[in-house]
């Protein structure tokens, strides 16, 4: 086997990656897999570093977007659903949309499939993409960027969805090497399209492994290292969301968040306790302590190996 050049310079702390790659006003994908593999560690760090005027782009990212809105980081939400999957509505999202608190936000409505196809167009260089699945929906009225048109071939109505090209995508992966070659397994939502569409990719790896481990199974690579800008080793970066084969969902944490963020003062206290008063994700994990250990997946259900031999 030939030697591969190993690039170590991408391995960095999450704080350094965000300081380098995320500017105020950036369009960010943080949680493209829906309810699993949400990069909550990055949510916390964006709040700690006080980023402002972000455009959060995701189909659904559970309470991550709600936290960033409450912390005053968000100017725009581009997505299909914002709330608390366990608890229901997101209090900060409601306050911002209904009362402009802590400040008003612009909402760009999409459905899951239409935002997916917008990422697809962004990833593969298409200016827009025709979609039928939001016909009849008032999303066509509330989101002025999507245009109703006639299919030039059939004459039938069709919605034209412009390409979405985010500035930065955060990805939680089960394992990566220090060059950013990453293995992901389980359902991935829009992770692939959103990452390829994004200008910069920051990988949050639950585990850093030798390059040979990743190279042994290239079919499990969703994003190859040559597309990745920074690799951060952050175990349980997904907490309280699950990561297949690694961490279970901390459902009570979602319910507690719902109860403890009902008014702005409550949210400020919650945010101090769980984000601002902690220096980094290691401190967050230490604070969770035994609660996090109980969520660790200890079982064994490995897939059968795939043979890539040539002779």
């Amino acid at each position: 086997m030939g030697e591969r050049a190993i690039n170590n310079h991408k391995l960095t702390s999450l704080a350094a990656a965000i300081a380098t790659y995320v500017q105020d006003g950036a369009a960010i994908v943080l949680g493209a897999a829906l309810e699993n593999a949400v990069p909550f560690a990055a949510t916390h760090e964006l709040i700690r570093q006080g980023r402002r005027n972000l455009n959060m782009i995701a189909p659904i990212s559970d309470i991550s977007t709600d936290m960033l809105i409450g912390a005053g980081c968000v100017a725009e939400v581009t997505g299909a659903w914002v709330g608390n999957v366990s608890g229901g509505m997101g209090h900060n999202f409601r306050r911002a949309a209904e009362h402009g608190l802590p400040h008003p936000i612009k909402i760009n409505d999409y459905s899951n499939f239409s935002i997916g196809m917008a990422f697809f167009a962004g990833a593969y260089g298409l200016p827009y993409i025709p979609v039928k699945s939001i016909l009849g929906s008032d999303i066509l009225k509330s989101n002025q960027k999507i245009k109703l048109a006639k299919d030039p071939f059939s004459g039938e109505p069709v919605a034209l969805v412009p390409a979405l090209k985010p500035d930065v995508a955060f990805l939680v992966v089960q394992r990566a090497d220090c060059d950013g070659n990453s293995h992901i397994w389980g359902s991935t939502g829009l992770t692939q399209e959103a990452s390829i569409a994004a200008n910069k990719i920051i990988v949050l790896a639950d585990e850093i492994v030798e390059p040979e481990v990743i190279a042994s199974d290239p079919s499990r690579v969703l994003i190859p290292g040559f597309g990745v800008d920074a690799v951060c080793h952050v175990p349980a970066a997904c907490h309280p969301a699950p990561l297949i084969g690694k961490w279970k969902r901390d459902n009570s944490f979602f319910h507690d968040y719902h109860k403890e963020t009902r008014d702005p003062a409550d949210f400020a206290r919650w945010c101090d306790e769980w984000v601002r008063d902690l220096p980094d994700h290691a401190a967050y994990r230490a604070k969770l302590g035994g609660q996090l250990e109980e969520l660790r997946v200890l079982g064994d259900a490995p897939s059968a190996p795939a043979n890539y031999a040539t002779e």
Binding site: A33, L34, E35, S137, D138, I139, G186, G189, E193
Partner: protein, 253 residues
């Protein structure tokens, strides 16, 4: 007689909407349990689809708070991406889908986005998720909602997921490929579109509920189909399947 709660009857009524061999867009919460009951009873060859990127044959073994939880992925038929799974919908390959909502109107249009004005909402609801895609593209749609006057309304404030729009053939004219809502299951009754207007009519009343009560709790002048039925109570087989699927009773309480 088999003992059951209203919630259990709703789950079983939803399960009965699934035909054997069909590809079903399951979604979250109550329909996950309904899919499991259908698989264990009358639809052993149904396939369950989850928009996060999961297709399953067997119902998941273990508690699912969301479709992305580990038990929904272990032993799945396919774990992939959203575009691959929702692409089956867009490609016209999905027989039925389930959705809920905050409001539904007489033509089966569903609102999960804004109560009041869009620019200045009284309540900002979480939003659409994949519901418009399912409502637009599935061959038929099953709507599940609690039967209250403020939920079953004359006209929704915002059409997140289209039913029959303004009624009649408005849905076809808008270019929507899927067949639209086939049934609305509540905790009191079952409503179905009837006649050329496609307005939802009362089709079946759950045991223990009355016509008067159902009409009073509906936000439009509810008409009935010619022969209103009584919803058959759950059978022992259905209840056994339900208790097997939802061991902890999480989705039945």
């Amino acid at each position: 007689m088999t003992e059951y709660s209203t919630q259990e009857l709703m789950i079983i009524a939803a399960a009965r909407q699934i035909q054997d061999g069909e590809r079903i867009f399951v979604g979250m919460r109550l329909p996950i349990t309904a899919y499991g009951v259908a698989r264990l009873t009358h639809a052993p060859n149904a396939v369950g689809l989850f928009e996060s990127g999961v297709a399953r044959y067997e119902p998941a073994d273990g508690m699912l708070y969301t479709m992305c939880d580990g038990p929904n992925q272990l032993g799945a038929a396919w774990t992939t991406g959203l575009i691959q799974i929702m692409g089956l919908l867009s490609g016209g390959r999905v027989h039925a889908g389930f959705i809920g909502g905050a409001e539904v109107d007489r033509y089966g249009n569903i609102n999960t986005s804004y109560i009041g004005d869009t620019e200045n909402p009284k309540v900002k609801l979480p939003g659409s998720g994949g519901a418009p895609d399912i409502a637009a593209m599935a061959e038929r749609l099953v709507i599940i909602i609690n039967h209250q006057k403020h939920r079953l309304v004359e006209k929704v404030d915002f059409i997140t997921s289209p039913g029959f729009l303004d009624g009649g053939d408005a849905r076809t004219k808008a270019g929507l490929p899927g067949g639209g809502p086939a049934v609305l299951i509540t905790d009191r009754a079952i409503l179905q579109p009837y006649g050329p207007t496609n307005e939802f009519h009362l089709a079946s009343i759950h045991p223990g509920h009355t016509l008067e009560e159902v009409v009073q709790n509906t936000g439009w002048a509810l008409k009935s189909v010619p022969d209103v039925a009584q919803t058959p109570p759950p059978t022992k087989e259905e209840m056994d399947a339900l208790h097997h699927i939802d061991k902890e009773g999480f989705w039945r309480s």
